[in-house]
């Protein structure tokens, strides 16, 4: 009497990953609970202006997060985004104010400058084969220096509202939702789709999992790496337009600490810093959580330093959960 093995089909794992990972559901749940609690505890949380503010503040981080997710999925990192943000902001701010650039050429200009900066990183990482953290630490300094040179000691004031349609005020909203958030949502949806269903996007996961194996499997690793860093530069340019739209001034300390906010959002969203796993949806949720925490701390009248403390705690929790899941998955 033979023992029939369980038919292979019943035992087979899913070939494609689930559309929404467990971590993202948990994150969405945490945000929902947080909103509920804040709505009950404060009377000002569920006001239109507060919610619009939250959505607007998270947009910049979410937009850059799209690029950063792709970079981190390839087991890289980019800590220079804050500095490239400053460079693009000062160039475009000056161009709009002094040269009278219209919104469309200005946005294109921002994209171009951002992409150029991102390419510098990409070339050094992909072809110089230096560790991304070292490269981007270095370029972070260099770009900040370039930004200071362009500022020439003064902040850029009185930028005309060419980007008001992307800003935080009334002209920046459609049906009450900030345009910046809509932009971030569309971008995230495109990226999500590309990283899941387009081969080039899926290659990123392969590179993050094992770059050598990916190369041997025929993936153009150098080209993809160049691409993700250039993409990050592109989205930084976009985010700079959003922020300039929000305020008429470009200050000299623009972008300081931005890279850490974005990395925090990406990591909280479930993307593994070791590469090979993570989605843009998680990053958007992570950005939303960070913005919610910032708003909550302000509304509850707590010290604003606590925001950073909470972010640190959330990072530890998110990565811890990710590590446990990964270990459990390996043990199966």
């Amino acid at each position: 009497m033979t023992v029939l093995p369980v038919p292979a089909r019943r035992r087979a794992r899913r070939v494609t990953s689930r559309a929404v990972e467990g971590q993202e559901l948990v994150l969405a749940g945490v945000i929902a609970v947080l909103w509920l609690v804040l709505g009950l505890v404060t009377s000002t949380f569920f006001t239109a202006s507060n919610l619009q503010n939250i959505l607007f503040t998270m947009s910049g981080v979410a937009i850059i997060g799209v690029g950063m997710t792709a970079v981190i999925v390839t087991a890289g990192i980019d800590v220079s985004v804050g500095s490239s943000f400053a460079v693009v902001a000062v160039i475009i701010g000056r161009a709009v104010r002094d040269a009278g650039l219209g919104p469309v050429p200005a946005v294109l200009g921002a994209l171009a400058v951002g992409a150029a900066l991102g390419l510098v990183n990409g070339i050094l990482v992909a072809y110089g084969r230096i560790h991304p953290i070292i490269v981007t630490f270095g370029t972070m300094n260099l770009f900040r220096f370039v930004a200071y040179q362009i500022f020439a000691g003064q902040q850029v004031d009185g930028v005309p509202p060419a980007f008001a349609f992307l800003g935080g005020g009334a002209p920046g909203r459609t049906l009450g939702v900030p345009n910046a958030f809509l932009l971030a949502a569309v971008l995230a949806a495109l990226a999500w789709f590309a990283m899941r269903y387009v081969p080039t996007g899926r290659h990123l996961y392969a590179i993050g999992g094992d770059a050598v194996a990916a190369r041997l499997a025929g993936i153009r690793v150098s080209r993809r790496l160049l691409g993700v860093y250039a993409l990050t530069g592109l989205v930084v340019g976009l985010a700079a337009c959003v922020t300039i739209g929000g305020s008429g001034t470009v200050q000299q300390n623009f972008g300081t600490g931005l890279e850490l906010e974005v990395i925090a959002a990406v990591v909280i969203g479930g993307t593994s810093i070791l590469g090979g796993r993570g989605t843009v949806l998680g990053t958007v949720l992570g950005a939303l959580l960070v913005a919610t925490v910032t708003s909550a701390v302000t509304l509850l009248d707590w010290s604003s330093d606590l925001t950073q403390l909470f972010i640190g705690v959330f990072i530890v929790i998110a990565v811890g959960v990710d590590l446990v899941r990964e270990r459990r998955r390996r043990n199966l």
């Binding site: 230096i130 990072i315 811890g320």
Partner: protein, 360 residues
């Protein structure tokens, strides 16, 4: 991975010229290269100074006076050295925040609590050790990636530092008297080397050197950085050794905090995080000093010479440019130095095919 002999070793072709041999030696021995670069830089800046291009004299007295920067940078460079050698992408982004928080604790002990100096010193170092232990626990035992763990603790410690005194520094008289610890030691020739070089940096550097080169801990540290699995099979307690590396980072941050408080005669909650923070310069110095981020490679001497190079280069830049521009150019110099030294490290790795390129 096949072992290929070094191309062009003297044994194979006996006609390698002395110039090529010298070049290869320089590229292989980071300390030698840094010493050469240091001399070249000093000579060049001296020439500029003699020619009147600098706003002040770039002489021995000036160099000695700038060595107060050497102490914190050297100490933190050694801290990064320990965690980077331990491998697995070891890095410590939280050193600046640990300096801030420990500095505040030290300030409270000396300034408000009126504790004697020695007790406060030991307590501050212990405080640094605890902060470093948190990093070590996350990275070594919970297997958190070092980047994330130290990023999170950077957030946590820097906000705690700000919260302890509500953003205000501690500058009570006992704290202000600490500046006596940082007075220059007058040597012949009008040279005044800050006291803390001898009382803080030198002992720590010697202790680190002994620990890493003469103790078993050092052997184990390099082992886990080179090949963690082989080390484990060699019955090395990988987690414990790595944990201690982060502990060392915390201890050195604590010492740096004491020096910083004494130097500024005030415990500032943003001491380690102001401007660009202390993490970036310390990582730059470690990378320049020949410490590989992949682990297993690096020398104490390299880190110290690299720190000296950066300090004196910064000093020269400050003289070369007027006003604020100097600090901006220092920024660019630091960035370029980091990328170039990483390229150099990479070139060294490829030139000597002894280390296999591990896929991350």
């Amino acid at each position: 991975m096949t072992v290929t002999p070094e191309v062009g070793t003297g044994a194979a072709e006996g006609r390698v010229g002395p110039a090529r041999r010298a070049l290869r030696f320089l590229l292989a021995d980071r300390v030698a290269l840094l010493c050469v670069l240091l001399v070249v830089m000093l000579v060049w800046l001296r020439v500029l100074s003699a020619g009147g291009y600098l706003t002040a004299n770039y002489d021995a007295a000036y160099l000695a006076s700038t060595m107060d920067q050497f102490v914190p940078l050297g100490l933190l460079g050694l801290a990064q050295f320990a965690v980077m050698v331990s491998g697995r992408g070891g890095i410590d982004l939280s050193v600046g925040a640990m300096v801030s928080l420990t500095g505040m604790a030290f300030g409270f002990m000396v300034g408000d609590g009126g504790w004697p100096l020695w007790v406060s010193l030991i307590a501050a170092v212990a405080c640094g050790a605890v902060l470093g232990a948190v990093n070590g626990f996350l990275v070594a035992y919970l297997r958190f990636p070092a980047l994330i763990a130290t990023l999170a603790t950077y957030y946590g410690y820097s906000s705690l530092a700000l919260l302890t005194n509500s953003h205000a520094p501690i500058s009570t008289p006992p704290v202000q008297n600490l500046i006596a610890l940082t007075q220059p030691v007058d040597l012949p020739g009008n040279i005044g080397i800050p006291l803390q070089v001898f009382t803080f940096l030198l002992p720590c550097a010697v202790l680190m050197w002994l620990l890493v080169n003469r103790g078993t801990y050092g052997r184990k540290l390099y082992a886990i950085g080179t090949n963690e699995i082989a080390a484990r099979f060699a019955t090395i307690d990988v987690a414990s050794v790595r944990f201690r590396a982060y502990l060392i980072s915390g201890v050195l941050s604590g010492v740096t905090a004491v020096v910083t408080v004494a130097q500024f005669a005030s415990a500032r909650p943003d001491a380690g995080t102001t401007g660009n923070g202390m993490a970036l310069p310390s990582i730059t110095i470690a990378a320049l000093g020949g410490v590989a981020i992949a682990g297993g490679v690096g020398r104490v001497g390299g880190v110290l010479v690299a720190a000296l190079l950066v300090v004196w280069l910064n000093a020269g830049i400050l003289l070369a440019f007027e006003g604020n521009a100097g600090s901006q150019y220092q920024l660019a110099a630091l960035g370029i130095l980091l990328v170039v030294s990483a390229l150099l490290n990479e070139f060294m790795v490829r030139g000597r095919p002894r280390r296999r390129r591990r896929p991350r």
